[in-house]
Amino acid sequence: MTRFLARRALGAVGTLFGVLVAVFLLLSAAPGDPARLAAGGLPGRRPASEEALRAFRAVHGLDRPVAARLGAWLGSAARLDLGRSFRDGRKVTERIGETLPATLSVNGVALLLAALAGVPLGIAAARRPGGRADRFSGLLLDALYSLPSFALGLLLLLLFAVKLRWVPVFADPSAGPAGLALPALTLALVALAPIARVVRESVRTALRSPSAIAGRARGESPREETLRALRRSVPAFAGLLASLVPQLVAGSVLVERVFAVPGTGQLLADSVFARDLPTVLGLTLASGVAVVLATLLADALAALADPRLVDVEEG
């Protein structure tokens, strides 16, 4: 077990290193002079003086050779220092930290809602394949997978904010639960589809396994049967959690734009628009690290729940 986890962790460190280098390559592959871009590249602004450009390069370390910059970048990223924003000169980590609470609370509520609706739906669909619940969930999942999150958000806004006037049109974290209800609902619907699908497939497989058939022969109640099937599905759920992370990150970027949530997704979209490279790449790096760590965590969870997974790999 320890060896399995150690090897997975080592693999994750390798991927993380690749992620760091990839982000640095993006940073230095930027066509044009970042100093000029940031200091005077935007239309309508007075071009910056040579002196100002030199000072800007020195502050952001752009006057050093690429290899030295890669070393410095890896060193500072390891110390969680992502440089300073081109826009206001503040630390990128500080700017990310400010926006994180709004995003995390919306995502937390969304994940909770999605699990509360998706798990029972998946179980109901798995218990009677082809039954009413199964057909309904099939239709719902097709619809949810095909409707982009931002289109879904706009349609919900149209219904609840414009037509019914239950919630404000723009998200407002200070207005309490009502202010963030629609963004959370939209993200919950985005996460609902994969949750219900994975629960349905894994529970269905577990219900067909020899142990489930044996249990039925012993006269197990449907409740016990379902609980056993759920327990057998834990590795699949762990994988599901890992795959939800990139989906929720991308969903947050879009949904925060729809509802004007002052969160991390908005920060990314705004920074891309303003060509604020340190912030863009800091956020890119953070999302990559989050995905890699979530995958590692999922592997560990799956291995704890089902030791056979370890045996297969070491066998």
């Binding site: 066509p31 982009p148 706009l154």
Partner: protein, 279 residues
Amino acid sequence: MTRHCVRRRLLVLALFPALALLAPVLARNRPADAPLAHQLLTPVPFDPDATDLAARLRPPDGTHLLGTDDLGRDVLSRLLHGARVSVLVGLAAAALAFAAGTLLGAAAGTLGPGVDRAVLVLTGVVQAFPALVLVAAGAALVPPSRFTAALLIALTAWPEAARLVRAEALRLAASPYVEAAWAAGASPGRVVLRHVLPGAVAPALATLPYVVGGAVLLEASLSFLGLGVPPPTASWGRALADARESLTSAWWCVVPPAAALFLLVLAARKAGEALTESR
């Protein structure tokens, strides 16, 4: 899933690029694009970019079948012309991703553990980023256009095809006929392209509609964030971003592009489902 059903679903999916290609015949053109086509008598007599401030936010009626947006542009005309970005960029990106993914996957499966490991590390790194974040970061670096949008989307979409083709290629690479090709002195490129790739491509081909659906969603997301093809060019994602500004007064700006995206992605999903299940 019957053959008949597969064909029907692929035909439904093919309606969308057909519509995109026919847009200049169905709706009036931008004069700058096609001076002659501009004169054509088209069913939708409105230029997609022509603003008419006297007719702002008109609800659907006999003249403007789907109404007008906040600049008085015809929603239907912009929907038809927007397909040229949304559908065609999505298709181009999926084709590029498929080509790159199958090539890398076949090479990884055929050319030994060194190449294999390199490709695996590359796929691991690309898949470590949420696709939208990577595409958005790319959009911060290169000025957006149809070409760069397709390229950026393809850059994030190839690993899935590579994974599928690699698995098949690993199996084929061990087969006697590939060994015979090596023995006959075929070059690595020839073995990969002539002997392994044709047999290994089928599973990736079956999932191609899913890739198209994903690429369309990604392009629409990029356009929605204002990072896609620059204005005034119409696209469904941008139409939704514009519609958000006039949401309280004009539902007809939201529903058509949302429905178009929904139907296209649904058609792609259903075609992918039919293809993968029929195998």
